[in-house]
Amino acid sequence: MPASVAAILADYTGRTPLRLRAIDAYMVFCAGVAVVQLAYCAVVGTFPYNAFLAGFGSAAACFVFAAALRMRTDPRNAQQFGGRGEGAFAEFVVCHVALHFVVANFLG
């Protein structure tokens, strides 16, 4: 088991381009923010619930959008998606703008 984990990590750092590793780091950060909010909620309670949902939801959504961007721009996935990587980034931005408005309304 540890051998395959080490193998995975070595393969990861060796073969993955810097751009994708940056997105991965951002995804880990988003997940971390979501976990921190969840832990805080478990300790302190859910009031105000809409604020918690807005914060947690936005962290989860950022994670998801970054994952989508990573999938679209990974050169190994090129045949699954039509179009170039720039389109993926434009979609990423549009999704975030929509998310911004929703979360801003939800925070209360």
Binding site: G57, A60, A68, R72, R76, F81, A98, V102, N105
Partner: protein
């Protein structure tokens, strides 16, 4: 120098869609042409009243509106208990038209909104058909959708109800979802989430979308078709869509704790895990990883379902409620929630209804499903799932034929497009073929053209005869064939509006609450929202009690007028005496000591209203209010045309005073007498 072939095709398609739109709008205008531009039925009157409020007072006051005139004395938080989509849409169109200095009345905007959106629905169905097969199937699907009676029933001019725009949003959201899955585009998924939000704001049936889309994803995962495109599409859709849907106050936080939304959340988690596993798979040898993946997915699914079941059992997650639960357990509502069971559109569907509403599409539909199985792309899996579940729900509840209609139209379009494409394909014919070689083609094509013409004729006839009645205004034919308009409802509401105090409270059965509020503009005790069963049971108890108890209860609730619908003179069978049993059942559910259903049947067990009626029936307030003085107008051979029984010979009424009875005795309004000046009971005062 004509147009190129591509341009010609696209011009032809646009022209065809334009004609379909015209037919769709035109076939919905029967009632406006026959009667007038009026809001129909019951629920649309509430939507109309709130739209007027929104237009007159602005969005902020609308959003925070607390209506003291409904559910007296409880009031109703209107802003938080409605789906604002249709009101906001109408108000936006109204304001846009007024900004262009076109002074359209808000009533006309409301009346014609549903036909306008039906044209958009036909276009959306075209897009959906084009997405799953090709433009031919799309055009056929659009043509079917434009006239299918299953959809027309809720979208005629004047039927200002949520379904009018919701079906358009349903079809368009599904189109965007399928496009997002096919292209793996986060933008399409974000658009789908945006229209899903619009759908959530418009209709409670959005639950169908948020369960069908995850089911589609789950089916694809289980079929081994999971791909990165599905991850991108579903995750974006769910993340944006759920957050957006919680912005509607009526939905609130339900997506986080009710069973109706748990499937979406579960599949969201599953999709994250599967995507991660797929990614890791590329790092490991194939075989051992495939096994690990399947075991892990299955195990996680079982664990997740187990946790969900545990949380539901512990009460943390709310179970399927009310209307949605009765879709699974169809016998539940009749026993436990009589209000849901009493609504006629919640009854199970009879076989003729399917043919009535869908005509020949009923047999093209299975052909379309079969063709979908043969091609079985990701989109076709969705169509099959949608067809299955929509068919089940349509069989359980009559009103859900509405959600079945789009998929039937799409699949029928696919099937019939296949037929026409095969038999119109000239490339298989050589140039020197004899005329007889064309005979099979001509025979088949002529046959199907005949079917299509009959379909159109059927739909127009059904629309004209069955679905274009305003319900507020009735029409009948006299003996010489002349039309006789029965306008009693508006007559009564108009009388109330002009002859009573501004704040006079009117008690009636909940069916008429919205119409009373909309046309008579008076406070009501219960209305079609039916959110408070106890209050409705109290009104039922008042109607079912004897005169003195009813008088006391009515005075306790500050009732000024009582309104009953009475169809015995005309033979109108939807009147209050026919609904009386439901009033009794609902009242009995809350006041079992005060109201007993069996007491209203006579000794032979019949539902009699004449002299052979049981004493409880003869003493009940509703019986008295309906039959008071009716014998005078009918003469010695007095006869109740609906129940087909002789009238009671003597009806006395002391605590209530007849205020108004309409022309055809359909609506009767009584005033609750104030307390006697000399402190006597009203019976004593009458005997004096």
């Amino acid at each position: 120098m004509g147009l190129s072939a591509v341009d010609q095709t696209s011009l032809l398609r646009t022209a065809i869609l334009g004609l379909i739109s015209i037919v769709a709008i035109g076939s919905r205008l029967y009632s406006v042409i026959r009667f007038e531009s009026i809001i129909h039925e019951f629920d649309p009157w509430f939507n109309y009243r709130t739209t007027k409020f929104l237009v007159n007072h602005g969005f902020d006051r609308f959003w925070n509106w607390f209506d003291t005139a409904a559910w007296y004395p409880l009031g109703r938080v209107v802003g938080g208990t409605l789906y604002p989509g249709i009101m906001v849409t109408s108000a936006a169109i109204y304001n846009a038209l007024h900004a262009l200095n076109i002074p359209v009345d808000i009533r006309n905007v409301c009346v014609f909104l549903a036909p306008a959106f039906s044209a958009l629905t036909a276009v959306a169905t075209y897009l959906l058909g084009k997405e799953v097969k090709n433009a031919t199937a799309g055009l056929f699907a659009a043509a079917f959708m434009g006239v299918a009676p299953g959809y027309i029933s809720r979208s005629v001019a004047g039927s200002y109800d949520n379904e009018g725009i919701a079906i358009f949003l349903l079809v368009f959201t599904f189109y965007l979802w399928l496009r997002a899955v096919r292209r793996g585009s986060a933008l399409d998924a974000a658009l789908a989430a945006g229209f899903y939000f619009y759908m959530v704001s418009a209709w409670g049936g959005y639950v169908f979308i948020i369960n069908l889309v995850p089911l589609h994803v789950l089916a694809l995962v289980l079929m081994g078709r999971f791909s990165n495109r599905i991850y991108v599409a579903y995750s974006t859709f769910y993340a944006l869509g759920t957050l957006a849907s919680m912005q509607i106050p009526f939905v609130g936080f339900q997506p986080t704790f009710t069973s109706e939304h748990m499937a979406a959340l579960g599949v969201f988690g599953l999709v994250q895990v599967v995507a991660f596993a797929q990614h890791v798979r590329t790092q490991l040898p194939a075989q051992q990883f495939a096994v690990v993946l399947r075991v892990a997915v299955a195990g996680l699914f079982v664990v997740g379902a187990g946790v969900l079941a545990l949380l539901t059992a512990r009460g943390v997650i709310a179970p399927w409620t009310g209307r949605f639960y009765s879709l699974w357990d169809t016998g539940y509502a009749k026993v436990h929630i009589p209000i849901i069971a009493s609504v006629s559109e919640h009854q199970p569907t009879a076989w003729p209804n399917f043919f009535f509403d869908l005509n020949m599409l009923v047999w093209l539909f299975p052909a379309g499903i079969y063709l979908s199985f043969r091609e079985l792309t990701d989109n076709h899996v969705f169509l099959i799932l949608y067809a299955l579940f929509a068919a089940y729900f349509a069989g359980v509840m009559v009103r859900l034929i509405l959600t079945l209609t789009p998929i039937v139209c799409v699949l029928a379009g696919v099937a019939i497009a296949g037929v026409f494409e095969t038999y119109l394909n000239n490339r298989t014919m050589s140039a020197s073929s004899r005329v007889s070689a064309y005979v099979p083609r001509i025979a088949v094509l002529a046959n199907f053209m005949f079917f299509l013409c009959m379909f159109q004729w059927h739909c127009s006839w059904i629309t004209s005869s069955a679905y274009s009645s305003p319900s507020v205004v009735l029409a009948s034919r006299g003996a010489d064939g002349s039309q006789h308009i029965i306008d009693d409802f508006r007559e009564a509401y108009s009388w109330l509006r002009h002859n009573t105090d501004k704040g006079a409270r009117v008690l009636s059965w909940w069916d008429y609450g919205y119409q009373l509020a909309g046309m008579a503009d008076r406070p009501t005790l219960v209305d079609n929202n039916t959110w408070n069963n106890t209050h409705i049971a109290t009104v039922g108890r008042i109607m079912a009690s004897d005169e003195d108890t009813a008088y006391e209860l009515a005075r306790q609730h500050d009732v000024d007028y009582v309104l009953v619908i009475f169809g015995a003179m005309l033979g109108y069978s939807g009147d209050d005496i026919n609904k009386f049993l439901w009033m009794i059942r609902i009242a009995q559910g809350v006041y079992p000591d005060a109201v007993n259903e069996q007491a209203f049947f006579n000794d032979e067990g019949q539902y009699a209203i004449g002299d052979s009626a049981s004493e409880t029936m003869r003493n009940s307030l509703l019986h008295k209010l309906c039959y008071y003085r009716f014998g005078e107008v009918m003469g010695p051979q007095a006869f109740d045309r609906v129940r087909k029984q002789r009238l009671p010979s003597r009806v006395t009424l002391d605590n209530f005073e007849e205020a108004y009875t309409t022309d055809n005795w359909m609506v009767r309004i009584y005033r609750v007498k104030p307390l006697d000046n000399l402190g006597r009971t009203h019976h004593a005062a009458a005997a004096f």
